[in-house]
């Protein structure tokens, strides 16, 4: 969430409006969210709820991972289920052949699942990253289907359509889901940290420049192939971990559910809804949509109505928040801030208000507002005009 501020510093912009909420608000909300997620199973111990929470965590890890590549590089992959499946088969095969006992020991296999996925991503990425845009999208789908077909056909490894079975832990139903939930939460935090690092690092800047204009990035001396490939592998790692968590939770691995095309779409959809290419987008998308989706299923016994409701909701979100929730909220926050300052600037009686507002705590925002001429009729309209509307997106496209 780098505060890249591109507001023109000319005479037309007497105010400095930061592009995102100030640091305190961000840290506080992150802390509150973490605290809430940490105690969630204690607040809602019902297994039906914690089961949804586990699925949410699995999708959260996968979504953050997907976004590290697709969000930051602009290459939309609809084939990351390839790594979801590889993660599942890795854990199931290792548990089977290395005789890893069911339970906590299985979770030790998660990093292995991630690593195997990341290693597999290197040759695959080398092939698919040669093409761009739509061709890339479809190629990723094709690779995913090839792996699914291999899982069906390499019977001696995968047992084909019969699938692989995992023995399940003997934990009781009342707390069975909690270990999966907390392991998922830890994985999600690690994924978030990785996403944050990529976003902040010089490496990440290279990735973002590829998204903005790949040819120019190459011209600037960025090794685009290597940069994309690294992000692709990191992203595959986390999707593999998500798969590695899913397999023991469900207790079986099947080709069509490991290499699942609907998983790909689900991930893309929730990152888009949350805000693609942002740090918080996948988190918001997963935490909102997965429970909502599962809840819809539970409420509408009728699957047709579920499909219709989900489709309509999706269109509404796309129509109303085209950039996704996270950027749109930031934009709303900016608009509110501007409106408030304008109001403060118009009424000389309450100039102090601006300083008291939470946004006013931002030192950068405080002084220009105080310095703006009281009752400054000429100052107000240009201030709004200077703020680019699409600029609320924290992505700084």
């Amino acid at each position: 969430m780098t505060a890249i501020d591109v507001t023109p510093k000319g005479a037309a912009a007497p105010e400095h409006i930061p592009y995102e909420p100030p640091r305190q608000i961000r840290w506080t909300s992150t802390g509150l969210l973490l605290a809430f997620l940490a105690v969630f199973p204690l607040l809602f111990p019902n297994p039906a709820v914690t089961s949804i929470a586990v699925i949410t965590m699995i999708f959260l890890v996968a979504a953050i991972g997907w976004n590290i590549f697709s969000g930051y590089s602009g290459y939309i992959s609809i084939g990351h289920a390839a790594y979801y499946g590889i993660g599942q088969y890795t854990v199931a095969l290792l548990a089977l052949h290395a005789k890893v006992p069911a339970g906590w020991d299985t979770f030790g296999l998660l990093p292995v699942a991630g690593l195997v996925s990341a290693v597999a991503a290197v040759p695959i990425g080398f092939v698919v990253l040669r093409v761009r845009r739509h061709t890339f999208i479809i190629l990723t789908v094709a690779v995913m289907f090839i792996l699914q077909l291999l899982a069906f056909n390499l019977v001696s490894w995968t047992n084909g359509s019969g699938g692989l079975e995992m023995s399940f832990p003997t934990w009781q139903g009342s707390y069975f889901n909690e270990p999966f939930y907390y392991v998922g939460l830890v994985a999600a935090i690690v994924a978030c940290a990785a996403s944050w690092w990529v976003r902040r690092s010089k490496y990440g800047l290279g990735l973002l420049s590829i998204r903005d204009d790949e040819d120019r990035a190459r011209g600037l001396g960025i090794n685009a192939t290597r940069t994309k490939l690294i992000a692709y592998a990191i992203s595959a790692f986390f999707v593999g971990v998500a798969g590695g968590l899913y397999a023991p939770f469900i207790g079986s691995v099947y080709p069509q559910f490991g290499f699942d095309p609907t998983f790909d779409l689900a991930i893309a959809v929730l990152v888009f809804v949350g805000g693609i290419g942002t740090l918080s987008g996948p988190v918001i998308g997963a935490l909102l949509l997965i429970p909502l989706q599962q809840y819809f299923y539970l409420q509408f016994g009728n699957a047709n109505l579920y499909l219709i409701a989900y489709g309509v909701l999706f269109i509404l979100i796309l129509r109303l928040l085209p950039a996704g929730i996270a950027p749109s909220v930031t934009q709303l926050w900016r608009r509110a801030l501007i409106a408030r300052r304008r109001a403060a600037a118009r009424s000389p009686a309450v100039p102090a208000l601006a300083g008291q507002s939470p946004a006013g705590q931002s030192p950068a925002g405080q002084s220009p507002a105080a310095q703006s001429p009281a009752g400054g009729l000429p100052g107000a309209p240009p201030a709004t005009a200077a703020v680019p509307h699409a600029g609320g997106d924290e992505v700084a496209r």
Partner: protein
């Protein structure tokens, strides 16, 4: 002989896949829109012909006179209500919007027709004739001929009419097309209409030769996308060649090796082709950077 038979089967079936994929590739060529709902549109076309046949006893081939204009209007309506309002990121956003439209359509079709598999079963569906020891099922031959006629019609529309010129102009340079007074919105709307109407025709044949329900759309769309990529986005003749190749490869592999490897082989060949020609067999060379 078995291989020759497989090649003939592949060519015949490939014909109507070209029809369905042609609609997809045409829409992409004009608007850069990946119509993710094309699969469910095919199923909708199949259901419409099915309903007309089972309730009004209208022959499925004849029913196209009703379903194709109907689906054309659906395409136009979808353009104005769904695609036109998209302001930014059209390529990705339209893909997502069409995915959502497909989801809604699937729900509605499921509601109306239930999820029981159905098939349009006309008396002539089991007939066939033989040449030497090669077998030609009537239905596939009819479907192939119809596909050729319709594809030729679209080809004529594109290259011999005023509308076709506007359409190709919009394809090559939308801004310039607008400058010379072409209403690119209407061109786009008509194009989506034509694409969806082609799905109606393809769907009718699909319904004659397969049992289907709303969920059949998922298999369809992944095949159609693979065909369109293989042939090159925006290329009608590319879609035709790719459809036939896909079916021939699958059928021949199924005969000489195993059906389970048919699809894998096709995908592997697809990837190999794209490594050499990223724009597909007949795609336009200038794939813009990002």
């Amino acid at each position: 002989m078995l291989v020759l038979q497989a090649i003939i089967d592949g060519i015949l079936v490939g014909g109507f896949y070209a029809l369905m994929a042609g609609g997809l590739t045409l829409v992409f060529g004009v608007m850069e829109i990946v119509n993710f709902a094309q699969g469910i549109m095919v199923v909708l076309g199949a259901y419409l012909s099915y309903a007309l046949f089972s309730h009004l006893s209208i022959d499925p081939f004849l029913s196209l006179v009703i379903t194709m204009p109907g689906m054309f209007l659906i395409g136009v309506a979808v353009y104005w209500s769904m695609i036109k309002p998209i302001k930014q990121d059209r390529v990705i956003m339209s893909l997502l919007v069409m995915f959502a439209v497909g989801t809604i359509a699937e729900g509605i079709l499921d509601l109306v027709f239930t999820s029981n598999l159905v098939q349009i079963s006309t008396p002539y569906v089991n007939n066939s004739f033989t040449i030497g020891s090669l077998i030609f099922p009537d239905i596939y031959v009819y479907a192939f001929l119809m596909s050729v006629v319709l594809l030729a019609g679209v080809y004529y529309l594109l290259y011999r009419t005023r509308f076709g010129r506007s359409l190709r102009a919009s394809m090559q340079n939308p801004t310039a097309a607008r400058l010379v007074g072409i209403n690119t919105d209407w061109v786009s709307a008509y194009t989506l209409g034509i694409g969806v109407a082609m799905a109606a025709a393809g769907g009718m044949v699909f319904g004659l030769t397969n049992s289907f329900d709303a969920a059949s759309s998922y298999d369809l769309i992944s095949r159609l996308l693979a065909i369109v990529i293989f042939g090159g986005f925006g290329s009608l003749s590319g879609a035709l060649i790719a459809s036939v190749l896909m079916l021939v490869i699958q059928d021949v592999v199924a005969v000489v090796w195993s059906p389970t490897w048919g699809q894998t082989t096709f995908y592997v060949i697809l990837i190999l082709i794209l490594l050499v020609r990223p724009q597909g067999l007949l795609g336009r060379k200038a794939v813009r950077a990002q």
